[in-house]
């Protein structure tokens, strides 16, 4: 299976992520696949290795999914880490990808959650279509 992201696919994803950033006042949003590969990102990129962030996020999500299974849950669909300055919100986007939202105290967790919920469905359809295309190849 290959995952092919065309320019058109990426434009649609970028548009979606961009809207998420501007409406939620988040600092940075990235979309990764569950094996840790970076798909897209929008917003003010933090001064960190984004590829490493993507890989660690996928690992974190995978490890938590194992905890969920141990507890008899199918999966935890969201994770939230609160820091002193920066907070991170991880949300599962369908079966294939994860959206990571970095935000600080300029916005609120409630607004972030609301905007993420509004974004998830649209992104999920876009990402599923890309992965379905890959399965057929």
């Amino acid at each position: 299976m290959n995952v092919v992201i065309t320019r058109k696919d990426l434009e649609k994803i970028d548009h979606c992520l961009n809207r998420m950033v501007s409406s939620s006042f988040a600092n940075f949003v990235l979309l990764i696949d569950r094996s840790g590969q970076l798909i897209a990102h929008q917003g003010r990129a933090p001064d960190v290795d984004i590829l490493a962030l993507a890989a660690l996020t996928a690992a974190n999500f995978g490890a938590t999914a194992e905890i969920a299974r141990l507890l008899g849950e199918e999966e935890f669909t969201l994770l939230f880490h609160k820091g002193r300055n920066e907070n991170v919100y991880f949300s599962a986007i369908g079966d294939h990808s994860i959206m990571v939202t970095l935000f600080d105290d300029k916005t609120s967790l409630g607004l972030i959650r609301l905007k993420i919920n509004q974004t998830i469905d649209e992104l999920s359809i876009l990402v599923s279509a890309i992965f379905e295309k890959g399965k057929k190849s």
Binding site: M1, N2, V3, V4, I5, T6, R7, D9, L10, E11, D33, R34, S35, G36, Q37, L38, I39, D49, L51, A52, A55, L56, A58, A59, G62, A63, E66, G134, S137
Partner: protein, 218 residues
């Protein structure tokens, strides 16, 4: 599962270093990190225990340059080798495009090498991947111990144990001293890029013309 991004002209691949505990997977990555230039590599990320054992994985991202205008970026991962970390190994194998199996040449590790290779085949099969189909390279590590106090297995024995059925490219190496490390990396990268190019060729997409060019190079 390679990621082919036609918008950024980039192909991202995942290569996993697999093998039993203390065989030298992390040392492979540390050596690569220590001798590659900063602009071609990303940060080395390690999730390990205080005893220097890999708890989850090590990660090193490398830029292999361009093939027909497409940037080839590989992410090198290691897995924890200890038997009881099997769930973690399965997680790291997700989306893998190529595997380097690092075998420990020490005689006392003979059984563990074989068990680890069987474990790799089993974990790949669970993901619907055949060990015979995926790009795979075997590295016989710790060859520098030859002639020392520790008894090591002759290459013929290791080949017979691990590679008699698979018949994949194999390399002698010393991860600590750097011998054979880049030969291994070069070969697995070549196999992965070739495999990705072949897969792209079969795709009925308008981008095929870009991708076909890579095959001639790859």
């Amino acid at each position: 599962m390679p990621f082919i991004n036609f918008s950024k002209d980039e192909i991202q691949c995942k290569i996993v270093y697999y093998g039993c505990g203390f065989c030298g997977k992390t040392t492979n990555l540390q050596y690569i990190y220590s001798v590659t230039e900063e602009q071609t590599r990303g940060k080395m990320v390690s999730i390990d225990t205080k005893g220097d054992r890999t708890l989850f994985f090590d990660l090193l991202s490398l830029n292999l340059g361009k093939i027909r205008g497409m940037d080839i970026r590989v992410q090198l991962y290691t897995v924890p080798g200890q038997v009881h970390y099997d769930a973690t190994r399965k997680l790291v194998l997700k989306g893998v495009d190529g595997v380097v199996f690092v075998a420990d040449s020490l005689k006392v590790q003979r059984k563990k090498n074989i068990e680890s290779l069987i474990n790799l085949a089993k974990n790949l099969a669970e993901k619907g991947i055949s060990i015979r189909a995926i790009p795979l390279v075997i590295q016989y590590n710790k060859r520098d111990l030859d002639g020392g106090d520790s008894e090591i297995l002759p290459l013929e024995v290791l080949e017979k144990d691990l590679n008699s059925m698979l018949k994949v490219p194999s390399f002698s190496a010393s991860a600590l001293k750097g011998a054979g490390i880049f030969e291994t990396l070069r070969e697995i990268s070549k196999l992965v890029v070739k495999d990705v190019s072949r897969k792209i060729m079969f795709m009925d997409k308008p981008q095929v013309s870009v991708a076909q060019g890579e095959t001639r190079d790859g």
